[in-house]
């Protein structure tokens, strides 16, 4: 069912390429204050940043059952966007859809740089999503104090337990497929800091410009911002990930810059 969705997405994206961006495009996500979990928050923020960078208008709708309405995806299945009659979930399909429309950022790159950039996007998405899932579901304290109550809040009692159980099972399976299930927290931190090193190195290749690839934003800026900013600003009982990211000063100031330019939440302290 989900894969047919993937293929449909490819085909509809082809068909739609001439049509303009619909005015009533809506982004669906869980409730931000009470319900959303760290990995979902990160991917939602990444998509929002991307759409804002593209200067496309969109509305945001918070739904308790956003995850269950989503057509499916590889990781968090969130957020999903309804544009006209079509629905796309997760960062990459949404980016592919927008790219068909000639309004996408990142078209200034040549083909080699673009394929490099795509691999960076995939690295950032994998490493950070897995690390966030790991800390949310494998760390006992975070799971008991934050993940389970937040995930279960929209359901009445016995159902909330069942929902928590199935959600945790899915998360653990995801970790297993990406071969993260047998790591301990130190390995996770090492992977995250390696990924941050890669990003910081990339950022410093062009030290005078604010974005990863020169003066213009691209997908990598959106997804790196989404994940780094969520990790930095989410309060958890275990702040290991945030502390790791905090060590990379360039990345923190990059987050502050993007926040200032597109969101103005200013919740990242110095």
């Amino acid at each position: 069912m989900q894969t047919s969705q993937y293929l449909n997405q490819m085909h509809t994206a082809d068909k739609l390429s001439e049509e303009p961006w619909p005015e009533d495009a809506t982004l669906y996500q869980p409730f931000e204050a009470e319900q959303i979990l760290l990995p979902e928050n990160a991917s939602c923020l990444a998509v929002k940043a991307y759409l804002k960078m593209c200067n496309l208008p969109f509305g945001i709708r918070s739904c308790a059952n956003a995850e269950h309405m989503s057509p499916g995806g590889r990781m968090t299945k969130l957020p999903f966007i309804r544009a006209g009659a079509f629905i796309f979930a997760e960062f990459e399909p949404i980016v592919n859809f927008v790219e068909q429309k000639d309004m996408a950022i990142g078209s200034f790159l040549d083909e080699d740089a673009k394929s490099d950039m795509r691999t960076y996007v995939s690295l950032v998405e994998n490493i950070f999503t897995m690390a966030e899932l790991y800390i949310s579901f494998k760390n006992e304290r975070v799971y008991k104090e934050v993940t389970a109550p937040r995930n279960g809040i929209v359901f009445p009692w016995p159902l909330s337990m069942m929902q928590n159980y199935s959600k945790r099972n899915n998360a653990l399976r995801l970790l297993k497929v990406y071969q993260w299930n047998d790591l301990d927290i130190d390995d996770v931190i090492e992977k995250v800091s390696k990924c941050c090193e890669t990003l910081e190195y990339k950022l410093r290749e062009s030290p005078d410009t604010p974005f990863f690839y020169g003066e213009m934003p691209c997908e990598l800026d959106a997804i790196a911002f989404g994940h780094l900013f969520s990790i930095l600003t989410t309060r958890l009982p275990n702040m290991a990930l945030a502390q790791t990211v905090q060590k990379f000063k360039h990345l923190v100031s990059f987050c502050r810059f993007i926040d200032e330019k597109y969101f103005q939440t200013r919740c990242l302290q110095d």
Binding site: M1, Q2, T3, S4, Q5, Y6, L7, M10, G72, R74, D112, S115, D116, R118, T119, Y120, S122, L123, N126, I127, R173, L174, K176, V177, Q179, K194, E197, T198, Y201, K202, E205
Partner: protein
């Protein structure tokens, strides 16, 4: 590296050093970095402690799986990307991750998930390389793992009916990935010019197995055959780096066939089979002949010819017959 350390992997086929992706990745690391380790191809997955190969045994310590072995090699002074520049190191890690996300689901679906492929080829490959009672069990563990992989990365369940397997998405993704790799490799020796990297190891591991394996349904195989530079890359590594490890059962039988050109096909086939099959066939043939002889009544005729002269009545004879039969 301590002397006498041993790497346990599955034996190869089709001129490759091993049939398994994880084993191949580890072998690539060892041979690229010229780490002095013996390779053992007749081993039992039970002894690894995780139920699968590869594992590296150093003294009494076991290191199971790619991640642990890579860490050991890094600590022992055989890091795979030592000669790369900083930028190339970062790129190697990102590309490795990307190739994994693009090809992992394809590999698992077409080797273990597709029922026809699994039953006709893959299960037999793994079963032949696992000792006797375990060969009924261990191949299916790979299938169960593939079930999770395909469900997460492909979005369907391999236990569903075949019509519901929507593998087109996996194939499209894999083809795009191969195109990009072919363009990136260009006419270079390694992906990053003159020095090997982790990316070379993972690309070789996936593509050599996918391009050499004889599966009934393998859409990427022809696609790889269209990319000449990747084919050269694979055959060059197999030839130069795995000169001693490469194994192929077909080559042996071919030389056999040439020397005995007078034999009929069935006889030639019998010559190729293994010893215990021959013994079983011999016992079976003797038994069949014996049963046939008893059924045709040869024994009764022998006894009857001796009793005819005694003049004893036929009822006793019939009793005799029954006993003998």
């Amino acid at each position: 590296m301590q002397l006498g350390s041993k790497l346990h992997v599955y034996k190869g086929e089709w001129g490759l050093p091993t049939i398994d992706f994880e084993c191949m990745r580890v072998l690539c690391l060892l041979r690229f970095t010229r780490c002095p380790v013996d390779v053992e191809t007749n081993s039992n997955p039970l002894r690894s402690g995780a139920g699968k190969l590869p594992y590296l045994q150093i003294g009494n310590d076991k290191f199971i799986g790619y991640k642990e072995i890579k860490r050991v090699l890094d600590l022992e002074g055989y890091p795979v990307d030592a000669k790369l520049s900083t930028k190339q190191k970062h790129l190697s890690a990102t590309y490795t991750n990307w190739v994994f996300t693009q090809l992992h689901a394809y590999y698992h679906y077409f080797l273990y998930g597709e029922p026809n492929n699994y039953e006709t080829t893959t299960r037999g490959l793994y079963a032949k390389r696992t000792p006797f009672p375990f060969n009924f069990y261990y191949p299916s563990t790979y299938q169960r793992e593939a079930c999770d992989v395909v469900q997460v990365l492909g979005g369907f369940d391999i236990n569903d009916k075949l019509e519901k397997h929507e593998s087109d998405y996996l194939v499209t993704n894999a083809k795009k990935c191969v195109n990009l790799l072919s363009r990136k490799l260009g006419r270079k020796v390694w992906f990053f010019g003159d020095h090997f990297s982790e990316l070379d190891a993972i690309v070789y591991s996936y593509l050599s197995i996918i391009s050499k394996i004889t599966l009934p349904n393998n859409p990427l195989q022809n696609h790889i055959k269209g990319c000449q530079n990747l084919l050269n890359f694979i055959s060059r590594i197999s030839r130069d780096i795995f000169r001693n490890e490469c194994y192929s059962s077909v080559k042996l039988t071919k030389s056999f066939g040439q020397s005995d050109s007078t034999l009929t096909p069935s006889e030639r086939k019998f010559m190729e089979t293994e010893l215990n099959t021959k013994i079983a066939a011999g016992i079976g043939a003797a038994l069949a002949m014996g049963v046939f002889a008893a059924w045709r009544g040869i024994y009764t005729q022998l006894t009857r010819s001796s009793t005819d002269y005694d003049g004893i009545d036929y009822e006793d004879d019939e009793l005799d017959e029954e006993v003998l039969e």
